[in-house]
Amino acid sequence: MNHTAFVELLNLACGALLVTAVLILWRRQLAAIIRWFTVQGLALTAIAAIIAVDGHDARLGAIAAGVFALRVIALPLLLRRALARAEADGGGRALRETSPLVNVTASLLAAAVLTLLAYAVSRPVVQLTPASPAAHAIPIGLAVALIGFFALVTRRRAMSQLASFLLMDNGITAVGLLTTAGTSLIMELGISLDVLFAAAVLQVLTSRVRDTFGHADLDELRELRD
């Protein structure tokens, strides 16, 4: 593909990555969050695929397929199943995040600050390969990771925390794809399996938290403190 098209498509996919991250931070209904998470998985697959096609790299193509299988199919399925169980336990009401620790307006402004912070911090990494358009998009991956971390810290419900953790992981994967087009295949496989199992474990723990405590509001977990 010619250079212009490559750059434009890559920038578009990275922009989609960032916008979906903002939307996940913005929306409070868990069903909407899962939907935008799936779209973000598609954007991530697109990034990997575009770089693969441009560099004629078969290994990266395999990685793109792996990203698709994990982040568009497996993880959203897991999240949807957890949500369905939570709704069944809760009596069929649509699940929302009960007032996060920081209100939505402040969260969005914090996301703006985090994006600027990401750009400032990742300057040395971008300067490593200044001629590569993919390198210029690294701050976007870092911004998504920071937004995920912020969301993780300010959410109360177990399921929102799980979704935020996966968001942070998406951002880190984006950084990996954009820096040097990923690592070895074995490492990618290992990392993907780890993420999948971690998410599965967290999902089981979520339902256990709900069973033991009667709700999934993590702020109420105060039994263990000094």
Partner: protein
């Protein structure tokens, strides 16, 4: 060929053990007492393989297997011995502990088989972490340990246990994700310097002087914070007291004794690359900050501690801080002391956690002030606990005396005089606290017959399900709400059925080994020095 088989044995044997236990979960009841001994057998085999590997390979260079995926140099061999030794201790004490739990109706044979399978997987993952040649695969293995131990921590299904499990998985996974980010950034720097993808440690070390400094700085900071989370260093340490306090005793022993050291091993590997790429100042400063913060935190939170298992967990944070201090000093003596400390701490902390688990089974309470007079009630247990604490605090002849002395000497010699003094002062404060708490538990008169918890092996409560009984026993660490038989009567009535004193035999052996190691390191010395050389001048 022989060395390669020995290499892979440390991972393959526990996997085989896990498979055995998974089969056992299908038919747990018949022959559980026999199946339980598969666990220590596997651990003994792994330890034997590790020692054989060290003997066979001594004097030669590092050996690889599986096409370069697996690599063993002196450092990995030493870590394998640590994993094998503490693993053997924990798994040898498990059958007695598990039988007592089954007898008290707090666990079923199927749950015990699941527990043992997960412990074997845990051991396999840790062995894999120290054997892989690539930093990336080390990361994968360490994250795998989080996943495997998640259900072990939450095994009891009480409110506290579930909360501890959630915090553990969440905080550790977040921290380790930061480490992954650091690895990817390091990968970028490595690719820029012309290395192939894969983060192979030897190749990174060889190319380290050519790595871009700015990028490596970011990567090293992220890696230290990320792996530091798993090692229990401040600031992301909040999961440690909860997880180690709520997990079953053998699991706490393994986690405190070995898992923290494996994370520290990863930090040491990263330090080698960082020192070559950035000079020693950068990592030294970072590690010093982490070390002092951990020591300060442990000291301040131990003063008013009321739960003895959490107390031991905070002591682990203190010792990890000491290890970070030793790593910051960086001389060969310091690193050798750090490695010896890992082994000694593993044995001592493992013994302490197993004894604490036994105390929990005896008294039914987590609280320090509800336990007293152990010396008169259960002399062997009190002896183990007392000697264990003395070992932990660094009294001679135990090996922690030699290793802490080594770290202090290295600290002063490397120009870290002030920091080492502050650290030693904090260690002194912590020692005083620990002695106070434990002596309160061991000495003094035994409690009166009407007071006292639900003894393991006494008649199980009539009310409700297993969950209700554990909940009522453990609720806020307070005493059971049912009328319990007097602890005296239960103790003198059926001591053998509960927890045979032979269950404490591994603890006694471990403490003895710790003492012997402190006096005469012997063959371990050469391995220690070779491992230290691998870190300081690779």
């Amino acid at each position: 060929m022989r060395t390669q088989a020995l290499l892979l044995a440390s991972v393959a044997v526990p996997l085989f053990g896990a498979a055995c236990f998974l089969l056992a979960t299908l038919r747990p009841r018949p022959g559980w007492r026999l199946t339980a001994w598969v666990s220590p057998a596997c651990a003994a085999l792994s330890l034997g393989a590790a020692i054989a590997l060290a003997v066979v390979r001594s004097g030669h260079g590092p050996v690889t297997a599986l096409g370069g995926l697996v690599r063993a140099d002196s450092l990995s061999e030493f870590m394998l011995i640590v994993i094998g030794a503490v693993g053997l201790l924990a798994t040898a004490a498990s059958p007695a502990w598990l039988n007592a739990e089954i007898a008290a109706r707090r666990a079923s044979p199927r749950a015990a088989a699941k527990h043992s399978a997960l412990v074997q997987l845990f051991l396999a993952a840790m062995a894999a972490a120290v054997l892989t040649a690539s930093l990336g695969l080390t990361w994968v293995a360490i994250e795998a340990t989080t996943i495997v131990t998640a259900f072990l921590v939450g095994q009891r299904k009480t409110r506290q246990a579930v909360e501890a499990a959630w915090k553990y998985v969440m905080i550790c996974s977040t921290g380790i994700a930061l480490a992954l980010l650091g690895l990817l950034v390091l990968n970028a720097a490595a690719a820029h310097a012309g290395l192939p993808a894969g983060l192979d440690w030897t190749r990174l070390v060889a190319a380290a002087p050519h790595l871009n400094r700015g990028v490596t700085r970011i990567a090293v900071a992220l890696l230290l914070i990320g792996f530091g989370t798993k090692a229990g260093l401040a600031p992301l340490h909040a999961w440690l007291p909860d997880a180690h306090g709520q997990a079953p005793a053998p699991v706490s022993a393994l986690m405190s004794g070995v898992l923290l050291s494996v994370a520290m091993y990863a930090i040491l590997r990263v330090k080698v690359i960082a020192d070559l790429a950035l000079g020693t100042e950068y990592t030294r400063t970072l590690l010093l900050i982490l070390a002092l913060a951990s020591l300060l935190l442990a000291a301040s939170l131990l003063i008013s501690q009321r739960d003895y298992k959490r107390m031991l967990a905070y002591s682990s944070i203190e010792h990890m801080g000491l290890l970070a201090l030793g790593a910051a000093a960086g001389s060969p003596l310091a690193v050798a002391a750090v490695l010896l400390h890992m082994l000694g701490h593993g044995l001592a902390k493992g013994s302490l956690f197993i004894s604490a688990g036994r105390v929990l089974q005896l008294t039914g309470t987590h609280r320090i002030d509800r336990v007293s007079g152990l010396a008169s009630r259960a002399p062997l247990l009190a002896g183990c606990l007392g000697l264990g604490i003395l070992a932990l605090l660094g009294f001679p002849p135990f090996s922690l005396f030699a290793s802490e002395l080594g770290i202090a000497r290295a600290g002063f010699a490397s120009g870290l005089g002030w920091v080492t003094t502050v650290a030693l002062a904090l260690v002194l404060v912590i020692a005083a606290m620990l002695l106070t708490h434990v002596s309160r538990m061991l000495l003094g008169p035994a409690p009166a017959a009407t007071e006292g918890g639900l003894a393991a092996g006494a008649a199980p409560p009539q009310a409700g399900t297993e969950r209700a009984s554990t909940a009522s026993v453990i609720q806020n660490g307070s005493v059971a709400t049912l009328a319990p038989p007097a602890i005296y009567a239960a103790e003198t009535a059926k001591p053998a059925a509960m927890f045979p004193d032979s269950g404490l035999l591994p603890v006694v052996v471990a403490l003895a080994a710790c003492a012997v190691l402190g006096v005469y390191a012997g063959p371990v010395t050469t391995l220690l020095h070779a491992a230290a050389q691998a870190v300081v001048t690779p």
